[in-house]
C-alpha cells in the first residue's frame, strides 16, 4: 500500500514508476476511470430510454399517474413525494460519506466510524425504498386490457377518474384453467391468470354505462385521450388480455418498453447501491479494526466514497428521467 500512497520525488524519471502525473494515486485514478466507463454505461441505458420515448412520444405513460404511492397513505394520490424522499435519503448518505472522508483526512477514527455507519444505514433505507417502489409497480393499481393490436385500454368514469377492474368487472360462471407444462404440448405454459377474464371485463363494461375507455394517446393538453361510449365499446370488443400490474412482457401503465426500461435501469442502479453498501460495510470493518490507522492513510475511504457519490450522481439523473420529465 505504501507504494501506491506515497509520492516519491520522482518527477525526473517519468517512466520509472512511482510517479503520479495526475496527482492521484493509482487506486484513486482507476476508480475515476471505472466511474467514467460506468457513467457511459448508464448514459447508454438512459439514451436508449430517450430513443424509445421519442419513438412513442404520443403514447408514452405519464409518470405522475404511475408513481402515486406513499407509505401508510392508501388511496391518496401522492405523485413524486416518495421518490423525492428517496432522493433526500441518498443525498444525505452522500453527505455523511463526504464527512467520513473529511474525518479520515484528519485521522479521526471515531468520526469516520460514525459517518460510515450512517452512510450504510442510508444506503440500506434507499434499497428498501426501491424494493417497495418495485412492489407497487409490479402489483399495479387499476388494471387494464390489451387489444389484439397491442395497444392498452384503461377505464375511467365520467369525470375522467380512473376505475379499477375490480369495481365493475362482472363475475361469470366460467372455468378458466391455467395452462401448465404437464397439460400442454411442446413446453407451453402461461403465467398466473389475471383476476378477471376478458369476457368478464366486457360484460361488466356493458352493465356500467358510465364507464369510458381511455387510450394511450396523449392529447394537446398533455392528457390521455378519453373515448366516447360508442368508440369505447368498439375498442373493447378487440380486447385480448387482461393486464394487471407490470412484468417484462406487458404492463397496465402503457407502452411495454416503459416497464422494461424501468425495471432495467432502476434495477441496475439498485444493484449499484446494493454493491456500494456491501463495499462500504467491508471498509467500515477495516476502519473499525484499525487497518487505515496503521497505514496512516484513510485513502480507501476516499475511494469507496467516490463510488458512493457516483451512485448518488446516477440517481439524480434517473430521478429526472423517470419521475420528472
Amino acid at each position: 500500500m505504501e507504494a501506491t500512497v506515497t509520492t516519491a520525488n520522482s518527477e525526473g524519471k517519468t517512466w520509472g514508476g512511482g510517479n503520479e502525473p495526475m496527482g492521484a494515486s493509482y487506486g484513486k485514478l482507476m476508480m475515476w476511470f471505472f466511474i467514467v466507463s460506468d457513467a457511459l454505461t448508464f448514459s447508454g441505458f438512459l439514451a436508449a430510454y430517450g430513443f424509445s420515448r421519442f419513438k412513442f412520444i404520443e403514447t408514452w405513460p405519464l409518470a405522475d399517474e404511475v408513481f402515486t404511492h406513499f407509505p401508510f397513505m392508501h388511496g391518496v394520490s401522492a405523485p413524486m413525494y416518495y421518490v423525492a424522499l428517496m432522493t433526500f435519503i441518498l443525498i444525505f448518505s452522500s453527505v455523511t460519506m463526504v464527512l467520513a472522508v473529511d474525518a479520515g483526512h484528519q485521522m479521526k477514527k471515531n468520526k469516520v466510524v460514525l459517518y460510515m455507519f450512517l452512510t450504510i444505514i442510508g444506503g440500506l433505507i434507499f434499497v428498501g425504498s426501491q424494493a417497495w417502489e418495485w412492489k407497487n409497480f409490479i402489483k399495479g393499481e387499476y388494471g387494464a386490457v390489451e387489444t389484439k393490436g397491442g395497444s392498452l385500454l384503461q377505464f375511467v368514469d365520467k369525470d375522467g377518474k380512473r376505475v379499477a377492474l375490480a369495481d365493475f368487472a362482472a363475475f361469470l360462471p366460467e372455468e378458466r384453467e391455467q395452462l401448465t407444462r404437464n397439460k400442454a404440448k411442446w413446453f407451453m405454459d402461461e403465467p398466473a391468470l389475471p383476476s378477471y377474464s376478458v369476457a368478464e371485463v366486457q360484460a361488466g363494461f356493458k352493465a356500467h354505462p358510465e364507464i369510458l375507455i381511455r387510450t394511450e394517446v396523449i392529447t394537446k393538453e398533455k392528457k390521455k385521450t378519453i373515448l366516447s361510449r360508442a368508440e369505447s365499446e368498439a375498442r373493447l370488443s378487440q380486447a385480448q388480455y387482461v393486464v394487471e400490474g407490470a412484468n417484462l412482457i406487458r404492463n397496465e401503465y402503457g407502452s411495454k418498453l416503459f416497464a422494461d426500461f424501468f425495471f432495467f435501469i432502476t434495477g441496475f442502479h439498485g444493484f449499484h447501491v446494493f454493491s456500494g453498501v456491501i463495499i462500504n460495510i467491508i471498509i467500515f470493518f477495516n476502519v473499525l479494526i484499525g487497518t487505515y490507522e496503521k497505514r496512516r492513510s484513510y485513502e480507501m475511504v476516499e475511494k469507496v466514497g467516490l463510488y458512493w457519490h457516483f451512485v448518488d450522481l446516477v440517481w439524480v439523473f434517473v430521478f429526472t428521467v423517470f419521475y420528472l420529465v
Binding site: A47, E58, D102
Partner: protein, 116 residues
C-alpha cells in the same frame, strides 16, 4: 497525499443545502406543472423539461466537484474525466434522440402505420 487537507465541513453542508433546495424546486415544479412552461416547446421538448435537465446538470456539477472533490484535483485529471463524458454523452444523445424522432415521423406520416 500531495495536497494538504483543510477541513471543509462548512462547504459540505452548504452544498447539501443547494442540492436539497434544487430538489425541492424540481418537485414543486413537477407537481404544479405551470402551463407557461409545460405547454411551450423549444427544440422538441417543453420548457419545463429543459428546466429539469438544467437543474439536474447543476446538481451533478456539485456532486462531482464538491462531494467527489473534483475541484481539488489536478486539471489533467479533471479534463481526462469530464471532457470525454460530456462529449460522448452529448454525441450519443444527439444520435439516438434524432433517430427516435425520425422513426416516430415514419410511423406517423408514411405508409407504415402503428395504428391498431
Amino acid at each position: 497525499m500531495s495536497h494538504e487537507h483543510v477541513s471543509n465541513i462548512g462547504r459540505i453542508w452548504k452544498v447539501f443545502g443547494i442540492l436539497s433546495a434544487v430538489t425541492v424546486v424540481e418537485v414543486i415544479l413537477g407537481i404544479l406543472k405551470p402551463d407557461a412552461l409545460h405547454m411551450n416547446n423549444f427544440m422538441g421538448m417543453n420548457l419545463l423539461n429543459w428546466i429539469f435537465y438544467a437543474l439536474t446538470v447543476y446538481k451533478a456539477y456539485y456532486i462531482v466537484y464538491a462531494f467527489m472533490h473534483m475541484e481539488g484535483e489536478k486539471s489533467t485529471l479533471r479534463s481526462a474525466v469530464v471532457f470525454p463524458l460530456i462529449f460522448l454523452i452529448l454525441y450519443l444523445l444527439f444520435i439516438l434522440l434524432t433517430e427516435g424522432d425520425y422513426i416516430y415521423e415514419v410511423f406517423k406520416n408514411s405508409t407504415i402505420k402503428w395504428n391498431f
